[in-house]
Amino acid sequence: MTAESADTVPVLSVKGLRVEIPLWDDIVVPVNDVSFDIAPGEVLGIVGESGAGKSITGAAVIGPMDPPSRIAGGEVWLQGRRIDTLSGSELRRIRGRDIGAVFQDPLTALDPLQTVGEQLIETIRTHLPLDRHAARTRAIAMLDQVGLPAAERRLDDYPHHLSGGMRQRVVIAMALCTDPVLVIADEPTTALDVSIQAQIIDLLKTQCRQRGTAVMLITHDMGVIAETADRVGVMYAGRLVEIGSVTQMIKAPRHPYTHGLMASIPRLNQIRRRLTQIKGAMPRLTAIPDGCAFHPRCSHAVDKCRETLPVLTPLDDGGAAACWQVGRSGNRPALPQPSVVPDLAPLSRLVASEPPLVDIDNVSQYFDVSKPLIERLATRQGRRILKAVDGVSLSIRRGETVAIVGESGCGKSTLARMVVGLYRPTSGSVRFDGTDVGKMRRQHRFQMIFQDPYASLNPRWRTASLIAEPLRTHGIDVGRGVRRRVDELLEMVGLSAADGDRYPHEFSGGQRQRISIARALACEPEFIVCDEPTSALDVSVQAQILNLMKDLQDELKLTLMFISHNLAVVRHMADHIGVMYLGRLVETSPASELFARPKHPYTRMLLDAIPDIERGGRVGAAPRGEAADPANAPTGCGFHPRCAIAVAACRIERPNLVAQGDGAAVACPVSDTSAAAPADASHPVELVAVR
């Protein structure tokens, strides 16, 4: 180390890191023999699916691990100084000053009982020799730099006064306020909406570049990596399986896992194609296979992979991969490709003339979020009504997939729950095949699949009983027929009959979602509402579930309503898309039309906010502002405060959906003129202000 000059010393150097967690009767190793360097000013992305050990690697670098986890081997060097052997107090000094941290959940990263200013000033004064006044000035400057409007006034705000995006800005300000040499960002945008994610990524990137701060960016999102990172390390089951430059990783990934991971991400430029999928799921830490941990899922695996662990071998171009099949030049021998599954059938199954299967007619759902009467009288406040869904009309034809997209709080889940009759609409009605769903009791013709595969299955029931419940409830099958049907359903969703005896907690997230699907299918429904069915899953598993749902849809002639925040997933699934903002539909359009010619400025903003993996990030500028609180929505068009083309009328008059010639309908009178000009799909639509 001493021989090297200052600028070639990596900011962070991790060598052979091994973390152990002792269990009752076993020791699991969530991080095993991980080595990497981060050069000054470099952004290293660490990607991997859940359970890969990426967050624990970050935690081990930051400092003493929470017992019982322990660093059981390896070294961590920060600027040529070994830090994993330091005592608690020495490490604390370094941790705050030289390493900044940004975590996933900005709410828990801030102390709810202290103002933003107190927390910032405390951090600054702990690590820098500044007096109170100087620290305060610095805190204001920091908040200003991270883009918090009226920074001085924000000092006295408590974290709950700020929105999620604002809070994450404050966390970034705290991480950067001591001018650290390294920032560790663990899923910094995962809890945020796409439009906010784009802002935060921009901020992190520009701030760190200006200061020359190195970043270790831990995320599962390849889009974020493509936009931000210089180099990428891919982790699988506790080990680094590939590391290399970001372009290399995107254009020509070497490790079969990286390859599969990249291929299974739904892209905006692919329509209605079957996603490439990796079979199986990440092994549990207690059962990591011998040899290469990836071999059970790998289509290139040979006997050597099952027996001997491949080490991370440097390649000629500076990258490294841990795979027996990758030669020194980085080429994988051409092995037979996994059997090509035919693409899915086109839209021909739609019958336009039939009456709609589901007819959502001007439904609204208002929630009363007023304070209690006495408090209202004392403060002279009126009632506060939260219009979660406000006058939405939509019809779904038999065999069609209609997707509803929007950011959190736009009312899409509330709408889904009204469609299946869980919530009764405040006004308007939902008709299923001509009957009001509120009047349908004990029906089995429509079902719902929920977002959280951990919460949507009763943990105390065996899988077979869970799937048998709808059969028994509706008398679809009785006696011995039940078990036979359950086995059939299990196999239909890609599980085995033996899985029926197991409890939900014995399955992975993806498998549980399969159980939920089997359970919904047991009712023999015609229509299924899917509320973010894959947003809790890893990408490779998401691809499996999406493919499964498309297959089942074709096989069983299902009609789907698909709720999602992810436009790429929606593009892959839907025939027709509705975009929601603040409880209202702002645009409905055939899927191809929506992506080729987005008409509402909000739709365009959403599309622009999505990082394009191939082109190394977003094309357009980051969106402005954040969605308003639905309990306190702006007057007129809800989107006008963030809209680039808003005119005075937008503040007053609320636009309604107006049908366009191409089957689309848009709730924006202003954008009509600009939409008339054909937009080139490869360039962002130029937003022209019409005044």
Binding site: I21, P22, P68, R442, F446, M448, F450, S456, P459, T473
Partner: protein, 330 residues
């Protein structure tokens, strides 16, 4: 020699055996079981409780004497000290009381009564109030407000006072001759009623949490009836905290019974519980015959202690926030 033919019966027997072994292994792997097997404190308490249970249930067969049969009791043997003291005899290992009854046997019979009263009171409280609480939490609205206010009011009445009241009312209402037979039911009702509110409140809050979970919504869309949702989905998932309360309340109920009997409104001397025995013993505490008092008192302490130890452990290990720390306990 040819291979031994196992035959269909033997093979199905090994199959069943294998199945039992599989279930046992699955059971052994359950976190609660593993936590139990790794906590000596819990195992000690459970062992002691098991001993109490065996002794109580088997008292008529296990007890060396039948203390409440006047024919077998002799006044000559009264106030014999425990066996290890001078004048003691191994006929009466723990000595005798003023009427010459064997204390060990009275303790066994007394534990039987105490345990019966405690268990019955807790079961009564559980069934009544879990039903009320679950319904209140699930249905909500005015039903919830009304039932929960009743529960709140009940909480403000001291439990001993409530028990005295119920006992008093029962004594007035029922004819004199059956007072003695009635005692056990009044006391179960009295103690059960005193324990209701804790179950009702926990059951309600659990039901409120569980009913908003997605698996309940899923069941609703599937078309499962409300009753079935409450009984088969919510109740099993709400049981864990209730079991903890039940264990801790069992100790409290036995103590309450002892207190009532000590006050003279509990079990009659002809059918003594541990509390009654302590009351009787209290009369001889200062006359040198301490064992008449100390033996039932120690028994009661041991019993309540083991129930509480087990309840404490159960609370710790069922607490989801401590689940991760299951590792820590190892």
């Amino acid at each position: 020699m040819a291979n031994v033919d196992v035959g269909p019966i033997a093979s199905s027997a090994t199959e069943i055996g294998a199945k039992i072994m599989r279930e046992w292994r699955r059971w052994r792997r359950r976190p609660l079981v593993r936590a139990f097997l790794a906590t000596p404190r819990a195992m000690f308490a459970a062992l002691l409780l098991a001993l109490f249970a065996i002794v109580s249930v088997g008292a008529p067969w296990l007890a060396p004497h039948t203390p409440f049969d006047p024919a077998t009791v002799s006044l000559i043997d009264s106030m014999t000290p425990p066996a290890w003291l001078a004048d003691g005899s191994w006929t009466y290992p723990l000595g005798t009381d003023d009427q010459g009854r064997d204390i060990l046997s009275t303790l066994m019979y007394g534990s039987r009564v105490s345990l019966l009263v405690g268990l019955a009171a807790v079961l009564l409280a559980m069934t009544v109030e879990i039903t009320v609480g679950l319904l209140a939490g699930y249905v909500g609205g005015w039903f919830e407000s009304v039932t929960m206010r009743i529960v709140d009011i009940q909480l403000t009445v001291p439990s001993i006072l409530l028990a005295l009241m119920i006992d008093g009312v029962a004594r007035v209402m029922a004819p004199r001759e059956i007072h003695h037979n009635l005692a056990i039911y009044t006391i179960i009702l009295a103690i059960g009623a005193a324990n209701w509110p804790s179950f009702a409140r926990v059951a309600r809050s659990r039901a409120m949490v569980e009913k908003n979970k997605e698996y309940v919504q899923a069941a609703r869309i599937i078309g499962v009836s409300h009753l079935s949702i409450v009984l088969r989905h919510i109740l099993p998932n709400a049981m864990a905290p209730m079991l903890v309360i039940a264990t801790i309340d069992l100790g409290l109920a036995v103590l309450a019974e002892a207190a009532l009997s000590f006050l003279g409104v509990g079990m009659p001397p002809t059918q003594p519980s541990l509390g009654t025995l302590i009351r009787i013993g209290g009369n001889f505490l200062f006359s040198g015959n301490w064992w008449v008092f100390v033996m039932p008192a120690v028994t009661l302490v041991l019993f309540v202690l083991s129930v509480n130890l087990l309840g404490d452990w159960l609370r710790d290990s069922l607490n989801p926030r401590l689940h991760r720390a299951g590792i820590k306990l190892a």
